[in-house]
Every structure is written in structure tokens, then in C-alpha cells.
């Protein structure tokens, strides 16, 4: 699976990473090298194997439905570049 420059730009945009025109060919080569490396796995037939989700035979842990957290709005917004009355404040996003 080869990635072209258009795909590089698209992936970068989806990830909200700004790339310059000069960086695109280099990133394309890097991505293709990674994909080629991983593609070696295609040599193994795993059609009858369930995806492994954990190296240990574990089950998803569940918790009781009890309120144990929250109540510290000032900590939540402490790192925000801008906040007001414990709201996060961001540039207008309405269409």
C-alpha cells in the first residue's frame, strides 16, 4: 500500500497537523517505509485468528454506578488558554 502526496496532506489535515510543501515528500517516504515494514505481516495467514486484545486472559473491569469524582471545575479549566466563569473559551465555532 503506497501513500501519495495527496494522502499525506489529507492525513495531516485530519490530524490537524500543519505540514509545509517541503515536508510532504519526506513524510510520504517515511509513511511508506512504515507501511512496507508492517506489510510483512501480510505473509502470515491470520484469517482464522481472533484479534488479540490483551496479552493476559483478562476481562474488562467494571465499576459501580456511584458518583466519586468531579466538583473541581477550577482544576478542569486551569490549563485552558482562556476561560471565563469556569467555562473553556474558544474561538466562535458556530457555522
Amino acid at each position: 500500500m503506497a501513500v501519495d502526496e495527496k494522502t499525506v496532506r489529507r492525513i495531516a489535515h485530519l490530524a490537524r497537523i500543519r505540514v509545509t510543501d517541503e515536508e510532504v515528500p519526506h513524510l510520504r517516504n517515511e509513511l511508506n517505509a512504515i507501511l512496507d515494514f508492517v506489510a510483512q505481516l501480510d505473509e502470515v495467514d491470520v484469517s482464522a485468528v481472533e484479534p488479540m486484545t490483551s496479552v493476559l486472559p483478562m476481562e474488562l473491569r467494571q465499576r459501580e454506578d456511584v458518583v466519586t469524582d468531579g466538583g473541581y471545575a477550577e482544576r478542569i479549566v486551569a490549563n485552558a488558554p482562556q476561560s471565563d466563569d469556569n467555562y473553556f473559551v474558544v474561538p466562535k465555532v458556530v457555522e
Binding site: 489529507r10 489535515h13 485530519l14 490537524r16 484479534p51 486484545t53 490483551s54 483478562m58 476481562e59 474488562l60 473491569r61 467494571q62 465499576r63 459501580e64 454506578d65 456511584v66 458518583v67 466519586t68 469524582d69 468531579g70 466538583g71 471545575a73 482544576r75 478542569i76 479549566v77 482562556q82 471565563d84 466563569d85 469556569n86 467555562y87 473553556f88 473559551v89 474558544v90 474561538p91 466562535k92 465555532v93 458556530v94 457555522e95
Partner: protein, 490 residues
């Protein structure tokens, strides 16, 4: 459903008939104390960011731990929808950027939802019954809330709702009119409320619908659909569908084509508008969430929840029809809310079911609606209403007096039987008293006495006069009998 298009559902266009095809995605907030993956409160209306944990705000290193009750609620709902319950399901990340989604992805279920195919039976007002297929139900996180009117150039973000559990319930495109769509949402909401898995409060956004609408010529393949996002009232769902269907028919009849797109319903203008979403907005790049193992449980867990389910509306309706001899319509009205059904059963216990239904639906509901009450705040209790019905059954009061008595109990309270004694409302069955009243009317109206011999229907006038002179307390049947005997009518 593959049934032929019901003719009453077809829309007349300039160039012939059209059929609307509707499928819905309902987002129902799970009733729980805490969030799907964090211990923060789900309570509505907290101060900004007060019901937020570091998990909900996606602080680095925070890990999700699933709420067992949310899992149980999803399974209960699946059972209520007679659906396949999947003992193993998987959480995926749905990736997109938006300021009220701090993780940069929503934890949802894509390929392996917790609940598979089911169905909802919907009885329509015109007597038709439709079966709406459920494709799936999955668990996912709600996003936060953006407030756009606090500042002209900025949006304010509150994450209180971020991470609250939602059930997304996806229907098949089985609906053919706005009426069917509204009836489906109403029925689904009733089922959720019976189950106690979602309060169905659309005003608070706890139940909202994405409505997929397309149109086609009857019998033709499905047309291109538009998705109307986040419609938050049943009335608006109907209006949005009506508008959207006519918009699409207009485009097609003018030779145009429908663009598959997301639209917004503006209730103020009663129109749908394109949300002009960017092309890649739908590239969600789902993949299994590496922070969460597959969700698994055994059949015994499902069976345990199934054993504790309450009687659901369909079963209750059937029982009301067979046990109390109610009409399908009355049974539908009574089972729409669990509180109402319980109230009716308390009134009906040991009494005539039809009489109880009549009083609950016609007298009580009418009055409750008028005064903005619900059954739970009714000034007249089930025991009091039952007492009034008993007095009619025992012929202590007439139906007319019963309505007066209902008014007294409504505004003043008290035991109906005691009120009847105290206020002298008892029906007069004493023939002597009735005869005296009849004699007085006959003596005072010799002209009518002549007329009634030729025209027996005038008897009704005499009955009315006697009832009036006895303050409505005379037994109407006794009055009738005495009048007939004295006037010589048969």
C-alpha cells in the same frame, strides 16, 4: 417492511405520487448516577464544568473504566426491544475534532454493538399497526455543550455532559410518513420510560433524533437520503420530515438530484438547511479503543435482568383489553405512561373496568390536562375516584350528580361517601317523592300533557322537568316509569 406502499401515505406531486422513506437514529441518555467511563455526576444543570472528572476532560494519562449499571441499562433496553443481546461487544474510537470533544474522539461501538436486531410495534391512530425494525443499539459517550451566545466572538464550552452514557438506537428505514415517525418515537420513549433506562425528557436533550429522509416513486429503489440532525421534539420531527420530503420532491420534479448531506431543522422558520459540512468531516477512522478490552458478560447476567423487567406497554395493553374489557384505543391511552396505567388499575380493582376507564380518561384526564396537572399530582386520588364509581354502581347517586361530586372532591377533597351524606346528594328512589314531583309538573303543564299523547318523544321534556325540580337527585329510570304510568304512554 416490504409491504406495498399504504396509499394513505403517498404524497401527491405535480408529476405523480411519491413515497417518503424514513429511518431514525435516536440518542437516548442512559439513566445512571455517574458517567459511562468516569465517576462524575450525570445530574442536569450543574455549574459549568462542575460535573467533570479529569477523564471527561481528557487529561493525559486518564483511563476509562466502564459503569456496570450503564451496561445493564443497555441490556434491559435491548430486551425491551426484543433484540439480540451480544455477549461480547467492542468499543471503538470515532475520531473528529470539535471544541466540546476534548478527547478528539468519541468512544462508541461500531462493528460490534452491545445489542443487535430487534423490533418495535407501533399502533397508529388510524388503527393500522406497523412493525419497525431495529438494526442495532450501541453505547457511546455524549459530547460537551458549546454555548454560542455568551460572547460575540467566542464560544463557551461546558463539559458537564461530556462522557454521559448514550444509547444510540438505529431503526431500519421502515417508516413511511411523519405520522408513523412521530408514533414510533412516542412508542420508543414509552418503552424506555417503562424500562427506566432513559427518562425520555426531550426538553433537556435526554432524547434526540437524527432523522434520515428520502423520497421515491412507489415500488422503486430507495432514493438518496438527507440526515436531519438533532431534532429535539416529537412535533418538530413531524414538521422537519414534512418540509424535507416536499423539498426533495420539488428538486426531483424539476429534474434535479438530491445531494446526500447533513441538514439542520430550524423550528423558527420551519425549514431544513444544509450544514455545509466539509467533505472529510465524515472520515471518522474508527478503530478499537486500546484503553478498553471487549465488553463481555454471560447469558445468566442477561437472564437475571430479563427476569426483573417490568410489564411492558404491549403486554399491559393486551392485558387491559382482556382483563378489563377495554377498547384498544382506551387501553393505548392508559398504557402510554406507567403512572397512568397504575392509577387506572388502582381505580379498576374490584370495580367495572370500563366504567373505571371512562372516568379516568374522560373526566380525570380532561380535567388534569386543563389544569396542567399529571396523574402523580392529581387532586383526586384513585381511591376517591373509585369511591365515586362505587356510589354510581350502588345507585346511591346518578351519573349527573357523580360529575358534581367529582367537582367537589377535586376542589375540596374528602371521602365521596361522606360528602354524599353530608350534602344530601343521594339519589331519590322513594316513589312517593318522585310521584309528587311528577304530579306537580303534570298539573302545571296541561298543554304538554295533551301533546305528549300524540307525540311520545315529548316524554324527555317531562323527565327533564322532574329532574330539575328534584335537583338532579331523582333516579332517572324511576322518573321515567312513573311518568309513563301517569301519562298513560307505552
Amino acid at each position: 417492511m416490504n409491504a406495498p406502499a399504504a396509499t394513505q401515505n403517498l404524497i401527491k406531486g405535480a408529476t405523480g405520487d411519491w413515497e417518503i422513506v424514513i429511518g431514525m437514529e435516536i440518542h437516548a441518555q442512559v439513566s445512571s448516577q455517574s458517567k459511562l467511563f468516569s465517576g462524575a455526576s450525570t445530574a442536569f444543570g450543574g455549574a459549568p464544568n462542575d460535573h467533570v472528572s479529569l477523564v471527561d476532560a481528557a487529561f493525559p494519562g486518564m483511563l476509562p473504566v466502564i459503569n456496570a449499571e450503564c451496561v445493564a441499562q443497555a441490556v434491559r433496553t435491548g430486551l425491551g426491544l426484543k433484540a439480540q443481546i451480544n455477549l461480547k461487544s467492542v468499543f471503538d474510537r470515532k475520531n473528529y475534532f470539535y471544541p466540546d470533544l476534548p478527547q478528539g474522539y468519541q468512544i462508541s461501538q461500531f462493528k460490534h454493538p452491545i445489542v443487535g436486531e430487534g423490533e418495535v410495534i407501533v399502533d397508529l391512530l388510524d388503527g393500522r399497526r406497523i412493525v419497525v425494525g431495529i438494526e442495532r443499539l450501541h453505547l457511546e459517550q455524549d459530547a460537551g455543550k458549546s454555548v454560542h451566545d455568551l460572547s460575540p466572538g467566542e464560544s463557551y464550552v461546558d463539559l458537564n455532559r461530556s462522557g454521559v452514557a448514550l444509547m444510540e438506537i438505529v431503526s431500519r428505514p421502515d417508516l413511511r410518513s411523519s405520522e408513523e415517525a412521530k408514533a414510533y418515537v412516542t412508542k420508543l420513549r414509552t418503552i424506555l420510560r417503562y424500562l427506566g433506562t432513559c427518562d425520555g425528557d426531550m426538553d433537556k436533550g435526554n432524547l434526540r433524533a437524527d432523522v434520515n429522509v428520502s423520497v421515491r416513486r412507489p415500488g422503486e429503489p430507495l432514493g438518496t437520503r438527507c440526515e436531519i440532525k438533532n431534532v429535539n421534539s416529537i412535533r418538530f420531527i413531524g414538521q422537519a420530515i414534512e418540509y424535507e420530503a416536499r423539498r426533495q420532491i420539488g428538486i426531483l420534479e424539476d429534474g434535479g438530484a438530491i445531494d446526500q448531506e447533513t441538514r439542520l431543522y430550524d423550528a423558527g422558520k420551519n425549514e431544513t438547511r444544509s450544514m455545509r459540512s466539509k467533505e472529510e468531516a465524515h472520515d471518522y477512522r474508527y478503530f478499537p479503543d486500546p484503553d478498553l478490552l471487549p465488553l463481555t458478560f454471560d447469558q445468566a447476567f442477561v437472564d437475571g435482568l430479563a427476569a426483573e423487567l417490568p410489564e411492558l406497554p404491549d403486554a399491559k395493553k393486551e392485558r387491559f383489553i382482556t382483563q378489563y374489557g377495554l377498547s384498544a384505543y382506551d387501553a393505548d391511552v392508559l398504557v402510554a405512561e406507567r403512572d397512568t396505567a397504575d392509577f387506572f388499575e388502582e381505580v379498576a380493582r374490584g370495580r367495572d373496568g370500563k366504567a373505571a376507564a371512562n372516568w379516568v380518561i374522560n373526566e380525570l384526564f380532561g380535567r388534569l390536562n386543563k389544569e396542567g396537572h399529571t396523574v402523580s399530582t392529581s387532586p383526586v386520588s384513585a381511591a376517591q375516584l373509585g369511591g365515586i364509581i362505587d356510589l354510581i354502581g350502588e345507585k346511591v347517586i346518578s351519573g349527573k350528580i357523580a360529575k358534581d361530586l367529582f367537582e367537589i372532591v377535586w376542589s375540596e377533597g374528602g371521602d365521596p361517601r361522606v360528602l354524599v351524606e353530608e350534602r344530601g346528594l343521594k339519589q331519590v328512589t322513594d316513589t312517593g317523592a318522585i310521584e309528587a314531583a311528577v304530579d306537580a309538573i303534570i298539573a302545571g303543564n296541561p298543554d304538554k300533557v295533551e301533546q305528549v299523547k300524540l307525540k311520545p318523544t315529548l316524554l324527555g321534556w317531562f323527565v327533564g322537568q322532574v329532574m330539575k325540580s328534584t335537583g338532579g337527585k331523582a333516579n332517572p329510570q324511576a322518573v321515567n316509569d312513573v311518568l309513563k304510568a301517569k301519562l298513560g304512554i307505552e
